[in-house]
């Protein structure tokens, strides 16, 4: 101790200061990462409607939501939604949906993309909607062939005791360049953009946190086509918050 020029008090102060500094560096990194984790395009709230609907003898309030799925950022701009920075296929205008609990949700998805084949043909089925079907340009389907699909919208969550299970999976009919087999591309009335208007309804239960993603392999050039847009947060995947 003799040769040290530091008093015990100074030493303790420097220790506390250094500890506080280190902790604040770590906290700073945390805050930064947390900031990067914010929803890229904010939250998308379902619009509540005045009327109610009776499903299986129970009265549900109604709410609706409209999304689009775009082949690239150029298409996204044409629809008014500003695409994210990579020129990737993406859902918009946001990937974080907020839905009211115990509500009859009607979702409309405008699909503008082409497609090839599903990895897992299982996801050609319509699952979890009220009618068991999806309405594509006015026609009801309970499933689509594995090679006629552009994307799917698949909602799921972690099974746990604190929230109700919720599973919805809907295949979106792909847009054909030429109409050789009768799948006619539609002129979307809202966007004046060629594509399909896909509508389906499902019931939310209690409040909870869920995720959704696309099960159609659309991360081009990557193994199993599930890299790139498929593995980047906010493009073909997102969150669903059901609020009480």
């Amino acid at each position: 101790m003799a040769k040290s020029n530091m008093t015990a008090g100074k030493r303790a102060a420097s220790a506390i200061l250094a500890t506080a500094l280190s902790i604040s560096v770590v906290v700073g990194v945390g805050v930064t990462l947390n900031k990067f984790s914010a929803d890229p395009n904010g939250k998308l709230f379902a619009t509540k409607e005045a009327d109610t609907i009776n499903v299986d003898g129970k009265e549900y309030p109604k709410a609706s939501l409209t999304m689009g799925v775009y082949a690239d950022t150029e298409q996204a701009h044409a629809d008014g939604f500003t695409g994210m920075k990579n020129d990737w296929v993406q859902y918009g205008p946001s990937n974080h949906l907020v839905l009211p609990a115990n509500t009859y949700i009607t979702m409309t998805i405008h699909g503008y993309d082409g497609g090839e084949e599903l990895n897992n043909p299982f996801f050609g089925k319509v699952m979890g909607t009220v009618s068991g079907t999806v309405n594509i340009d006015g026609v009801e389907y309970d499933s689509l062939p594995y090679n006629k699909i552009q994307h799917t919208w698949t909602l799921h969550g972690i099974p746990q005791s604190t929230q109700d299970p919720l599973f919805v999976s809907v295949p979106l009919l792909r847009v054909e360049e030429d109409d050789e087999i009768g799948w006619v591309p539609t002129e979307d009335p809202i966007t004046n953009f060629k594509g399909h208007t896909i509508t389906f309804s499902f019931l939310t239960k209690g409040a909870g946190e869920y995720v959704w993603n696309c099960e159609f392999p659309c991360g081009d050039d990557t193994y199993a086509k599930f890299g790139a847009a498929m593995s980047g947060y906010g493009y073909m995947s997102g969150k669903v918050t059901v609020t009480a």
Partner: protein, 620 residues
């Protein structure tokens, strides 16, 4: 204020007449490295279309390797080899200059061949890696404090898990053999330097170039694969994966160079009279560790090169669609991966074995058992890799044989326990911080070993594999045992490496915070794993929330403990109590040299007449 460093500064600095090497340092390395990287990136981007996935990977990989090569060119690593090519060598004066004697702090930023400088460089490299990896661990635990996963998004969480893993693995591989293997070990065996001083400098600076490459993964979108980088997920991953692959390939070069250098040094440069049964046990442990790494890391490198080929040249080593298989990757990875666990563990054990006799004042109990234990662990460790693949479905009929080899490792591990317990027996330990580390080591290694027994058993592994239980188990062995050993070694050898004692109160406080926090942290994780929480999940069912919160509280405690330790290391470096030549009264050779240690360590080469464990009142 101490004047130790100013004394060093006053020595005559060799002046090799404006030779190129006097003008090169890490700064020039950085400049040349960045120029190489930018040149490569620009040049290749002009010829290759970077919007194409595999071409983009080619460009990025080439950029990273050229950065590393450029840095080494810029720091002067190739001056010697180039001279050889033209039939010359460095002059004697230049060689003396490269040894860095009398150049003060600046030598730590040069291509310096002095093993003591390299040791300090490694020490700060390790501290940097541990700080980065530790911060990521704090992020992981913060995210897992709540079920619902709102702190960071899933890809950021996955990157945190993977980059925390690989950062810590790299840090722990070099944590003992880097600082202590370079600084202390040559003095311990009475050598003037390493066998190949320039390779020694090379091993450090090659490693140093890997650190920025690893960090660049964050800016390229992270990695989704965890540190195991299983294919084909790694083939699917985004550009950040290239940083991972390049890091491992560069790191494997560094470990190969360092491993051969340390092995050659121990074999050929021991002091006169230091027969194999008189070698300090730490030297045996470090040698076993690096010798095991020599065959292990090339397989990792091969796996990484194959992944890089799959990603950049569209080969199909791991792509089942074209006849490859992910099992090939798993084999290559674990043929490296399991020996690597012991590459990390053995030096930590050896440090504890070096410390215990000094603080109990008894000879090491059964030196032979210790050596046999190390040899047994090293030998068996190359025969157990497929216990990581019990549940892969690769070949269930071989699970039995691999279970047998795995559980046989408990026999040499038992010998390690016997050596430490036998040394403790009948002794009155002096509970300085290094010795406390020995007790923490015993407890952690015991828990880690026993939980390893469950995992080695095929039916139990059927439940536990891929769960948080595995995470807790290997943290007990790697962090609880190996890192505890290395931290004990740091406190023990700090006086010799810095000339000052490590602040005692701070190191006590940090020791208890780290160890108590550690038990809380991994108790929670054992519970979560037993309950059925998979590992590496960004979010979990609310059923696991209590065990995860226990873990997070423990993790913060550990974090604060390490921050206090870091403060002590930085503060005592200059302001600590001036250390006597041999503060612990040990008998190994490193305590016979003064601080600062002279350039060639010993004025007259030492002659060894006994092993360094001659403690104890003689029997009658």
């Amino acid at each position: 204020m101490t004047t130790l460093d100013s004394q060093v500064g006053s020595r005559a600095i060799p002046n090799p007449k404006n030779s190129l090497i006097t003008k090169l340092n890490a700064g020039t390395g950085l400049i040349v490295g960045i120029l190489f990287a930018i040149g490569t990136y620009k040049g290749l981007s002009n010829t290759l279309d970077t919007s194409v996935y595999h071409l983009h990977n080619q460009v990025l990989l080439a950029t990273m390797f050229m950065w590393s090569i450029g840095f080494l060119v810029g720091i002067g690593a190739f001056i010697g080899p180039v001279r050889w090519l033209v039939g010359k060598d460095l002059t004697a004066e230049e060689q003396l200059y490269m040894a860095g004697d009398g150049q003060g702090i600046s030598r730590y930023f040069k291509y310096c061949t002095d093993h003591k400088v390299v040791g300090i460089q490694y020490l700060w490299g390790v501290i940097t890696l541990l700080a980065v990896g530790g911060s990521m661990a704090m992020m992981i635990r913060t995210d897992l404090f709540n079920s619902g996963g709102h702190f960071v998004t899933a890809p950021i969480y996955n990157s945190l898990v993977g980059l925390h893993g690989i950062t810590m693995i790299i840090a722990l591989i070099i944590v003992a053999t880097g600082p202590f293997g370079n600084y202390i070990m040559p003095i311990m065996i009475g050598a003037a330097d390493m066998a190949f001083p320039r390779l020694n400098a090379l091993s450090w600076w090659v490693l140093a170039t890997a650190i920025p490459v690893l960090c660049s993964a964050w800016f390229l979108g992270g990695i989704p694969t965890g540190w195991t980088a299983y294919a084909p997920l790694s083939v699917q991953a985004g550009p950040g994966m290239n940083a991972f692959l390049a890091t491992i390939i560069i790191f494997a070069v560094s470990t190969a160079v360092a491993g051969m250098n340390i092995t050659a040094t121990v074999i050929t440069m021991r002091a006169k009279g230091m027969s194999w049964n008189r070698v300090p046990i730490f030297v045996i442990g470090a040698t076993v560790s690096v010798a095991l790494a020599i065959p292990a890391f090339p397989t990792f490198m091969v796996a990484m090169i194959q992944t890089a080929m799959d990603r950049s040249f569209m080969t199909g080593f791991f792509d089942a669609n074209v006849g490859g298989t992910g099992w090939l990757y798993a084999h290559l990875f674990w043929i490296m991966g399991h020996p690597e666990v012991y590459v990390i563990l053995v030096p930590g054990v050896a440090i504890i074995m070096e410390i215990v006799p000094v603080f109990v004042r008894k000879p090491l109990f059964s030196y032979t058992a210790a050596v046999v234990g190390f040899a047994g662990i090293a030998g068996l460790s190359v025969l157990v890799w497929a216990h990581h693949m019990y549940m892969s479905g690769w070949m269930p009929m071989l699970n039995g044989p691999f279970m047998v080899t795995t559980e046989m490792i408990s026999v040499p591990t038992g010998l390690i326990f016997l050596v430490i317990l036998g040394t403790l027996w009948n002794g009155k330990p002096w509970l300085k911080v290094p010795m406390l580390g020995a007790y923490a080591f015993l407890w952690n290694m015991l828990i880690g070993g026993i939980t390893g027994l469950y995992l080695s058993d095929v039916p139990a592994d059927q439940y536990l594999h891929g769960s948080m239980y595995v995470t807790a188990h290997f943290h007990y062995t790697l962090m609880g045992a190996a890192l505890t050993g290395a931290v004990a070694g740091l406190v023990y050898w700090y006086p010799k490496m810095t000339g000052h004692m490590l602040n005692e109160r701070a190191s006590y406080v940090s020791f208890w915070l780290i160890q108590i926090g550690f038990q809380i942290l991994y108790l929670g994780m054992f519970i979560a794993g037993s309950e059925g929480q998979p590992r590496r999940v960004a979010d979990y069912a609310s059923e696991f929330i209590n065990s995860n919160r226990i873990s997070t509280v423990g993790a913060y405690t550990v974090g604060i403990g390490f921050i206090i330790l870091l403060w002590a290391v930085v503060h005592s470096w200059r302001h600590g109590k001036i250390a006597p030549m041999n503060p612990w009264g040990a008998k190994t050779l490193e305590w016979t040299v003064p601080y600062p240690v002279p350039l060639t360590n010993f004025d007259t080469p030492p002659v060894v007449t006994s092993d360094p464990y001659g403690y104890g009142r003689s029997a009658k």
